[in-house]
Amino acid sequence: MKVAVLVFPGSNCDQDMLGAWQLMPEVECQYVFHSESSLEGFDVVAVPGGFSYGDYLRCGAIARFSPVMKALQEFAESGKPVIGVCNGFQILLEAGLLEGALLRNEGLSFICRPEKLRVVNKHSMFTSAYAENQILEIPIAHGEGNYYCDAETYARLKSNGQILFEYEHNPNGSFMNIAGICNSKGNVLGMMPHPERVVESLLGGTDGLPLFHSILNFCQHKTA
């Protein structure tokens, strides 16, 4: 299975994301620079965190014009898994691959700490290896992770099962405690917490691992 980790100028969790995927022997993971125009041959695309283009203007606002984003649109339309974490989530929102927007944290400060999350829907290609309502500890590290959408959108996300993760204790003012959502097709995930930071017990936890395994399972079943 081949995974692409996109690298934009200012990405800084690219290495972390690559490292997480590389823990799985079945996976061949490589960087794809933002200036590339093709994602051919990849089974999964991960958009890592960081401060693409310095997060100047709005987080993710400038990155969405990179050449690779056109390829990503097509990739997403083909139904293959796309995961955006933190700044990656922000980029996917700006690119219109997911609905809603991210505002500054309610407390106006950057927050870096482990947070408790609940798996709201385990019937997705990203969460199948978790238990329903399982409580995870996954760190957040962001200044603008306060998810916003209007009531109508929320109702739709909710009834479609597009909300995958909720915070147990809302850290940033996110609407209805939303921590991670997917698109209506269910193949594009955006989340603020960093699953790639909790995949080794040496670093304090492995609650992120099942997410990667879920995606791997999905891809293997599809090809099987």
């Binding site: 203007l57 400038i62 809603g100 927007a101 505002l103 500054r104 309610e106 407390g107 106006l108 916003y148």
Partner: protein
């Protein structure tokens, strides 16, 4: 030479924690007459004359400067020759 002043601000129904923080701070400093504050962005764009300037700016806003999910915009064009 034109100077275009673009204001981008959060839509009214969207909570503006920064505005709230500023309001509180002003109150603490004794400026109690201030009822609410909203905080937005202010862009000054400098450009040479072009045709169609207004529609060009609208397009810049739409494509880049504004996230219409959460933000509103207005702008003015000044001749800054």
């Amino acid at each position: 030479m034109y100077k275009i002043k673009v204001h981008v601000y959060l839509k009214e129904n969207i909570l503006d924690p920064q505005g709230k923080a500023v309001t509180n701070a002003l109150h603490q400093l004794g400026f109690n007459e201030v009822q609410t504050v909203r905080v937005g962005k202010y862009f000054q764009l400098f450009t040479d004359n072009v045709d169609d300037i207004e529609s060009r700016i609208k397009s810049m806003c739409q494509k880049l400067l504004v996230n219409e999910v959460i933000e509103d915009v207005d702008f003015t064009i000044e001749n800054a020759a």
